[in-house]
Symmetry: C2
Subunit: 190 residues, 2 copies
DNA sequence: GTCTATACCAGGATAGAC
DNA sequence: GTCTATCCTGGTATAGAC
């Protein structure tokens, strides 16, 4: 069962990840779901409230997906590669980039709570990556900076993949760019 | 001597780098420069034309700044670190991020020429970084992927720094994040 | 090259019926 | 929970005077 609120969030999330927060409107969701704008306002009174709901759900889902990777991987190296796969698969779905990457760029347009949640998302990722790096034997003095670098390279790889999306059919190749960047980092860091 | 067109470009570039392409309007430039909106249209008939002028100038200026680094650095390592400094300094100026990073995120809202120029900008950077890495002794089979990773980490570091910009006065610390990420990459890759 | 005035449409949001 | 109708504002752009 999918509620209307969920369908709105699905549509909105894709729109944000593809066009940016200021690049879509309620009219776009309305057209996609064949529902009127006031109906959307009924579920999410303001666009800011919609953004807040989006990031809350995104963090939950991302945490769950990361746990899948955590449980399915045999060693730290595999965990880091599998984690990068989450980003690569995001891009493979219609050239989307990380929701929080978009929110970071559009931070000025967003309410404080969303900005804080975005920051918290990255802090959470940093902490997890640092833990995996420690598990892989990296000295504690280096894990923090290395985790930041790994995270930055993944978010940046999505940007580069997006920029490269000129010839429309090349999304597969661009997804590999994300994986390739991650592989380079894992090899170099460990 | 600064022409009106230049002043418009200056204002617009800052606005794009801080708010995103869809996050500002001619009214913002109008207010900042104490000039009317039609005057801006006189110099740049459409917002798309303004974006095109922006990226043309950005590429020229970035190339010049990179040449400064190229000429001033003694060895490849210093060149890479100095290059990262260009990104760090961008962020230090009011929390700006790379214009092309923003244009990559907002690509769907931009005309084809701007998208192509954004892609070309990144291709240019990739090529330059790859050349420096080769100069540093990296085998030719690895330079391409490593350059992509370095570039991604710099663009991503700007995103993370922006997201972290919660407490307003901490811009200095965030600029160091960019430099720290770059240092981690240089050490790990070479 | 800059202005006033204005057109036009879209975005975000509300009132109130069903 | 969804609709029709409507409001207000702001964004992009043009016409035409100075």
């Amino acid at each position: 069962m999918t509620t209307t609120a969920d369908r709105i969030l699905d549509s909105a999330q894709t729109l944000v990840q593809v066009r940016g927060y200021n690049g879509f409107s309620y009219a776009d969701i309305s057209a996609e779901l064949s529902i009127t704008k006031p109906s959307i306002h009924h579920h999410f009174p303001t666009k800011a409230a919609l953004a807040e709901a989006l990031i809350v759900r995104y963090r939950e889902r991302f945490a769950a997906a990361r746990k899948e990777v955590d449980d399915g991987a045999a060693d730290p190296r595999q965990r880091l590669v599998g984690y990068a796969g989450l980003y690569a698969e995001t891009f493979a779905q219609g050239g989307r980039i990380c929701l929080c990457g978009v929110f970071a760029v559009d931070a000025e347009s967003l309410p404080v709570q969303v900005r804080q949640a975005t920051d918290a998302f990255f802090a959470d990722q940093r902490e997890w990556v640092a833990g995996v790096l420690a598990e892989a034997g990296m000295p504690a003095t280096r894990t923090s900076a290395a985790a930041e670098a790994y995270l930055a390279s993944l978010e940046g790889a999505l940007l580069l993949a997006r920029a490269h999306g000129q010839p429309d059919g090349a999304a597969d190749q661009d997804r590999d760019v994300v994986r390739s960047v991650a592989a380079t980092l894992v090899t170099a860091l460990l």
